[in-house]
Symmetry: C2
Subunit: 248 residues, 2 copies
Amino acid sequence: MTRRIQKDVPIPLYYQLKEILKERIKSGDLETGELIPSERELGEIYEISRPTVRQAINELVSEGFLRKEHGRGTYVAKQKISQWFLQNLTSFSEEMAEKGLDFSTTVLKKEVVGVDSTLEEVFEGNFEQFYRLERLRCVNGEPYVIVTTYIPVKLAEGLIDEDLEQYSLYKTLEKKYQFQIGYADRVIEASNANKEDADLLAVDSTSAIQLIKTRGYLENDEVFEYSIARYRGDLSNFTVRVPYQSNT
Amino acid sequence: MTRRIQKDVPIPLYYQLKEILKERIKSGDLETGELIPSERELGEIYEISRPTVRQAINELVSEGFLRKEHGRGTYVAKQKISQWFLQNLTSFSEEMAEKGLDFSTTVLKKEVVGVDSTLEEVFEGNFEQFYRLERLRCVNGEPYVIVTTYIPVKLAEGLIDEDLEQYSLYKTLEKKYQFQIGYADRVIEASNANKEDADLLAVDSTSAIQLIKTRGYLENDEVFEYSIARYRGDLSNFTVRVPYQSNT
DNA sequence: GACGTAATGTCGTCATTACCAGTTGCTATA
DNA sequence: TATAGCAACTGGTAATGACGACATTACGTC
């Protein structure tokens, strides 16, 4: 019954254990709040050493699957509430596909623009010309979000000719342009819609809009993207889990 | 010059190294983007073993201070942009104090209420009565956010008599009521103000409001708090850093 | 000069061993 | 009976040793 850990494949042992434990949690074999076997026991069961077990467990703890209590043991943590892209930087398409929702993307505008003061600041004056994409995304047929994206022409020459209605922007940058995407900083604001956005989103012109400004960074900390997304306030909500940091 | 690691104090070696490295980063001794000494070198310098160095470094990486590149070395990561409470669950007072801003809290209402369907769902039907606190918080004299907080009476008998204008709610729960606060789940929404809130926040009645609903959990995963905060959309913004997770 | 290769340095993985530090429950003692 | 204290768990910290995988550089060959 217990899946074995294979030592003759090039997959790290701690990683195999992680996957096994995640599987056991998802399948309900290990229930929420339940005490899991001790580190030493897991080592015996799967025939690996304790440090290896600890690496697997520590990562699962930091990912929110487990919770440790010194002297008592390790428990299966309460399942995270469905996490929006505030926790994981995945593309819109993946997010929606995972939720099993119908979605579509319409490219409203594709153009090349010069710098302005915002772009100057965001890209630290490194680039002169930018692709500016404006896209409307719908979920289940309803307008959901408008995204304006700026990407330096120098970094992705020809991007403007790609089919961005069928293929995800991030996936395209990763696969076709060999971008090594690292992380993103997001600023979240609430504001009122302007007239054009209100029309496109099919809401009243006084409606609240969830603004999310994203700076996308490569693995080497270089900014490669700046985008401004306007979500319908009445359709969107974002969740985030925050650890408590008591300062002594 | 280099601070030594003390082996005769009950502070873990890896933790001492973490503090030293953080200090060196903050002081500018180690600059952004700079390659830091290799794990083996650090081990020699501070006379500790490589696994200990690795523990310190790995935690700093997960906290965003460092960035590792396999085969190349470890770099000082670009400094995080000022992080709002979306990353660290600190209290409002601490957040503001750290920014050096003047702030004040006014308790608008203190009462005991029974369950309703929302509280039933949030607290899983575990409690009958709740303290309901309504507080207005101002920054630099300007209204900034209104917070409605629900806490089960059973968990903090007498809380209603505490001075919550001078002392932080979280700090009070921690120190006086021995709460072991674990983490929080936050849901972020944009909406329009209602009349009372608009008046209190001194904004137009059509203005956008940043809604943040928080469920506070103890270390053992029990919900101890539910709050709804309404921030002025024009004054508040929240930032969050998101790692990229490419799925193969 | 261009290219492949080897050397060397980096982080990544893993095992083994040892001891420390909280928690819990049993037991011997008062 | 009540309780202090002693195991016997748990996870936490630390050292040592070994090898693998990846990146860079220098060098030798073509």
